[in-house]
Assembly symmetry: C2
DNA sequence: CCTACCGATCGGTAGG
DNA sequence: CCTACCGATCGGTAGG
C-alpha cells in the first residue's frame, strides 16, 4: 500500500507503470516485460512496480486490456456510429490501416504481437489474447454478413473468409511497417482490402433480392 | 571440447541440441530458448548445451538457420525445378499452404514467429530473421515478375503487392492453424491465393504481347 | 561433455 | 512506495 499518498496519486502511479509496460511489451513481447525494466525506466523500485498488480501476470493482463482499449479507441469507436454493413466495414478497415501506419505502439500492434507470441501457449494471459483476436474477427465477419444481406456484397461472399483475409492484410501491413520500414505498405494494404470488399452482387436473371429502395 | 568422444558423436550431440531448441523456439520464441530448458529435455548439462555453440546467441542463429533450411526443403526445393513464372509460383504457394497446414513446427512457422518477435529489435539474430523474410519475399516477387513478362498475369500486376499479399495470407493461415485451431484455414488460404493469382492479361484491342505459342 | 562456480536478474514477500 | 531480503534461474567460464 501507499500510506503517504492519496488514492489519486496511486492511480497515477499505476498508469505510469502501465504506459511504460505497454511500450516495452510492443517491442519485447508481453512475456518479455520485466519488473526490473519498468523500475529502471520509471524510477520506481521493483516492488513498487509489482505491488499495484500483485503479480507480473496480473500486470500483463492489464497490459493486454490497455492494448484492447487503445485498439477500440483508435479503430472501432470512430466508426461505430456508421450504418452497419459495408460502410462501417470499409471505414473500420481504413481506420485499422491508418492505426497500423501511424505506428501507435513503437514495436507494432500489440494485438498482432500477442497473437503470435501466445499462439501455442496456455494460461490466462494467452486466453485473453485469444479472446481479443477472436472478438475482433467476429466483429468483422458480422458486418460482412450485414453487407451481404443488404445487397452490398455478392451472396457468395463468405464472412469468415473476409475476416480471415482482412486479418492477413493487417498482419502483412504490421510486418511491412515495423520490420521492413516500407512506407508504401499502407497503400498496399488499402489496395488489397479494396479489392476484397469490392464484390457487388452480380445482376443475374431475376437476381433481385430484397431491400428494394423504392419500398416504404 | 569432448575428449572422450569422436567428432561424429559431437555432431550428433549438436544436432540433438538444435532439434530440441527449434521445437522450443517455435513455441516460446527464438529469444525464449534457454540453456536450462534444453538441458532438462536432452539430459545434458547447461554447459554441455552452450559449449558447442559458444554463446546462446550463436545457438539462436543456428536455430534460425535450421528454420530456413526446413522451410527451403519443404516449400522451395519441391518446386524449384518447375518453369519459372506462374507455374512455379502457384506450386510454391501450394507447398507453403501445405507446410503451414501440416504444422511442421509445433508452435507454428518459425519464420513467421521470428519476424514478429524481432521486428522492433536490433542485433545479429534479428538481422538474420529479417534477411530470411526479405529473401523469401524477393523470390515470390521475382517469379511474379516472370509471370507478368510471360503473359501469365496482367501487366498491371505489381510483383511487390503480390508478395505482400501472399505473406499476409500465410500469416493469417499460420495464426488460424496454431491459435484458433481452424481446420478450414488451409482451404481459406488456397481460395485467397487463387483469387490473387488468377489475373490473366485482359484481351484488349491489339493487346498481343510477345511469346506467341505458334512461334518457332 | 561433466562439475562447480561467477555475477546478474528474475518474480515475489516481509516489514515498515 | 521504499529497503532488504528469499530461492530460482539466467548466460557464461574454469578446469578437468
Amino acid at each position: 500500500m501507499s500510506p503517504r499518498h492519496t488514492a489519486a496519486e496511486a492511480a497515477r502511479t499505476r498508469q505510469t507503470i502501465l504506459d511504460c509496460a505497454v511500450e516495452l511489451a510492443s517491442v519485447h513481447g508481453v512475456g518479455g516485460v520485466s519488473a526490473g525494466d519498468i523500475a529502471a525506466r520509471t524510477g520506481l523500485s521493483r516492488a513498487g512496480v509489482i505491488g499495484p498488480f500483485g503479480t507480473m501476470d496480473e500486470l500483463r493482463l492489464a497490459v493486454l486490456a490497455v492494448a484492447a482499449s487503445v485498439f477500440a479507441e483508435q479503430v472501432w469507436q470512430p466508426v461505430s456510429g456508421l450504418p452497419a454493413g459495408l460502410p462501417r466495414l470499409s471505414a473500420a478497415v481504413e481506420a485499422w490501416v491508418s492505426y497500423l501506419g501511424r505506428r501507435v505502439f513503437p514495436g507494432g500492434c500489440l494485438m498482432t504481437t500477442a497473437s503470435i507470441e501466445f499462439d501455442a501457449l496456455e494460461g490466462p494471459v494467452s486466453d485473453q489474447a485469444r479472446a481479443m483476436i477472436d472478438g475482433w474477427r467476429t466483429v468483422l465477419a458480422a458486418d460482412t454478413e450485414v453487407a451481404i444481406r443488404a445487397g452490398e456484397l455478392d451472396p457468395s461472399t463468405d464472412p469468415d473468409q473476409v475476416a480471415f483475409e482482412l486479418y492477413g492484410i493487417a498482419m502483412a501491413l504490421n510486418q511491412a511497417v515495423v520490420l521492413l520500414h516500407d512506407a508504401a505498405a499502407p497503400a498496399r494494404a488499402r489496395a488489397a482490402a479494396a479489392r476484397l470488399l469490392s464484390n457487388p452482387p452480380k445482376p443475374g436473371p431475376a437476381s433481385e433480392t430484397r431491400g428494394d429502395p423504392t419500398d416504404d
